[in-house]
């Protein structure tokens, strides 16, 4: 064999363009499609199983309650997504929610009116996020250490500010926010939907979004191309803080009081939602719908198990198994 017999000019048989993604079959065969939509697959699976096992699960009232319960986690997961996309992690997220709630409660109790209280709450948590970002970038300290430090610091701050006591917030505005609804969905659900839409646009349709992913992907290269990676990181943490503030308002509205208590499962679940949503903890890849649906999935899990009257002892086991299974199924598609 000297020269090959196969010399027909096959323009690009290797690496043939794949841009025509129109056909559904091709889409379903593409592993990255499954990876990106894993949380949807998991959610649909859960809905089907729970729907069969306990018909109440699919009742309109329950679905409404489920969405309402998920709203806070959805908003937090979005905040966490921005940070994780820069290959960071915000461990202070749940603590920021607590601090925001305490500030809201105290300002309101001091008689400044609920709107000012809400604004100050969001400002405070955003400032906190900004501070996190500043220390991380200016001090070149790993995200994990800084946000762990602020987690601890805020815990103390919340306790000191509140004297360790919960503050009742009996505002009609917040009560309406928590229990009112527009169309079939409660206001908190609309807030979460708005957050998803705005975040999606910021991530996919703005220069900031591309710079965020570039910073998370390869900060050094991004810097060499003139992207101010430090500013991008600070912005991501500020957004995370802002989301914590919104979540704090939703939380206070929901339970009617501001408590100096940190809900650590909010933190772990926010990260779990992000990862189940197909966002890499190593940065550079992100999605907003994914984490939102991941958050929905985690909430549906607890909702369904409670509806099925699974004992408190068995619930953690079930949650753990299902989270791993969901991830497993989604990865095997690849």
């Amino acid at each position: 064999m000297s020269n090959s017999t196969d010399n027909a000019p096959v323009a690009h048989s290797a690496g043939a363009p794949e841009e025509s993604r129109s056909s559904l079959a091709a889409l379903l065969l593409d592993p990255s499609f499954w990876a990106d939509w894993a949380s949807v697959v998991g959610l649909v699976g859960l809905v089907v199983i729970f729907g069969i096992a306990q018909p109440v699960f699919l009742s309109v009232a329950n679905l409404q309650a489920l969405l309402l319960a998920a709203a806070i986690l959805v908003v937090l997961s979005i905040g966490q997504t921005f940070v994780v996309a820069t290959s960071g992690i915000d461990l202070s997220l749940a603590a920021a929610v607590m601090l925001g709630a305490v500030i809201l409660g105290l300002v309101n109790a001091a008689g400044y009116g609920i709107f000012i209280a809400c604004v100050l709450c969001v400002l405070a948590t955003s400032a906190l996020g900004f501070f996190n970002g500043l220390i991380i970038t200016a001090g070149k300290i790993p995200d994990f250490v800084v946000t762990l430090g602020t987690l601890s610091g805020i815990t103390g701050l919340g306790l000191i500010l509140s004297g360790g006591e919960p503050t009742m917030v009996g505002s009609t505005f917040l009560l309406k926010l928590a229990s009112g609804s527009f169309g079939p969905l409660g206001y908190p659900v609309w807030v979460a939907i708005a957050a998803v839409v705005v975040a999606h646009i910021a991530l996919y349709h703005s220069r900031f979004g591309v710079h965020l992913l570039a910073t998370g992907g390869q900060a050094e290269s991004a810097g060499a191309l003139g992207i101010r990676t430090n500013r991008v990181k600070v912005a991501a943490y500020t957004i995370s803080g802002f989301c914590a503030g919104i979540a704090a308002i939703l939380l206070v509205a929901r339970i009617g009081s501001a408590e100096p208590l940190i809900n650590t499962s909010l933190l772990l679940n926010s990260v779990a939602a992000v990862v189940l949503g197909g966002v890499s903890l190593f940065g550079g890849r992100a999605s907003i719908l994914g984490p939102a649906i991941g958050a929905l999935m985690l909430t549906a899990l607890v909702n369904g198990l409670t509806l099925l009257s699974v004992s408190a002892f068995y619930q953690p086991l079930a949650v753990g198994t299902i989270v791993v299974l969901a991830a497993l199924i989604m990865r095997y598609q690849k």
Partner: protein, 305 residues
């Protein structure tokens, strides 16, 4: 005579119950002219952290140690040097296991606290009065595995055994929002539910909110008697709560310390007051908060006279 120096260590301060206890300790100490240092675990799960803090305090010169352990035995070893210095150990709220203490070579001077099982039973009896026989009730527990939560739930279950139908027990980690979510789910699953018992007031308030939102008439009984719960009972929202008086437990602890330092013989067991609060006596309780609505028996006060 120098003022007695008292070291106190309580469970996590992330719960108003223990803050009230701390308040009781500090105010009684002020009233009695006692010097007190209060420390607490980082949170309710921090068993070793609590022991570490006590270990550090044991090195300092305190005359008496007031301890509220997270578990029955997590403070035992940290107390060994205290016992070796022959300082009195006053156990409040949660018990230290007597056998372990004996193995480690010490006995606690006295135990002051409320019986959680009895408190739970009190709530159960109230529930029996409120709902028809055979009704469905649901239980909202604290962090799974928590001893206090277990005891309260156990007391409630014993009281309603065979008379009410406990359909589900969920765990809401002492968290108001989680209790709210869980109660909403339970109400969806059991539309004919008649009552909730929640292992503490914070969660009871969350449950109450879920009940309110659902518009149903479901009884909610909490336990602890924190101020928000009393207000809620007075406002006719929360049905009832079983009040324990952490303030009194703390205050009695300081009294016991003072007595022990003076060399008085302490009774082995001092029961702290427990009271069922419903709409009838809520206002009175609120007025006196954090002290009970009326007078209560205090053998230690007698001792100090």
């Amino acid at each position: 005579e120098d003022a007695a120096k008292v070291a106190a260590i309580v469970k996590g301060l992330d719960n108003p119950f223990f803050q009230t206890m701390q308040q009781g300790i500090e105010q009684q100490a002020k009233a009695d002219g006692v010097n007190v240092t209060v420390q607490a675990a980082a949170n309710m799960g921090d068993a070793t952290g609590q022991a570490d803090r006590l270990t550090a305090m044991a090195l300092q010169d305190f005359d008496c140690y007031l301890v509220n352990p997270i578990s029955v035995s997590n403070l035992v070893q940290a107390l060994v040097p205290v016992a070796q210095k022959k300082k009195p150990i006053i156990n409040i709220d949660s018990t230290i296991d007597a056998e372990q203490a004996k193995a480690a070579g010490f006995t606690v001077s006295t135990y002051i606290g409320t019986d959680n099982v009895a408190a739970g039973a009190l709530a159960g009896e109230e529930m029996l009065k409120l709902v028809p026989k055979g009704s469905k009730v649901a239980l909202v527990a604290g962090i799974v595995g928590d001893v206090g939560s277990n005891a309260r739930i156990k007391g409630f279950k014993q009281a309603v055994e065979g008379k009410l139908d406990v359909v589900v027990m969920v765990s809401a980690d002492w968290d108001r929002e989680k209790a709210l979510t869980a109660a909403t789910d339970i109400l969806a699953a059991h539309p004919d539910l008649a009552g909730f018992f929640s292992a503490n007031d914070i969660m009871a308030l969350g449950v109450e909110r879920a009940v309110q939102t659902s518009g149903k008439d479901v009884k909610v009984i909490g336990l602890d008697g924190i101020v928000d719960a009393l207000k809620s009972v007075a406002a006719g929202e929360l049905t009832a709560t079983v009040a324990q008086y952490p303030y009194v437990v703390g205050a009695m602890g300081v009294e016991a310390c003072k007595a022990a330092v003076k060399g008085k013989e302490l009774p082995a067991n001092v029961p702290a007051p427990v009271l069922l609060i419903n709409k009838d006596n809520a206002e009175a309780s609120l007025k006196n908060f954090p002290r009970p609505g009326g007078d209560y028996p205090d053998p230690l006060r007698e001792l100090l006279k």
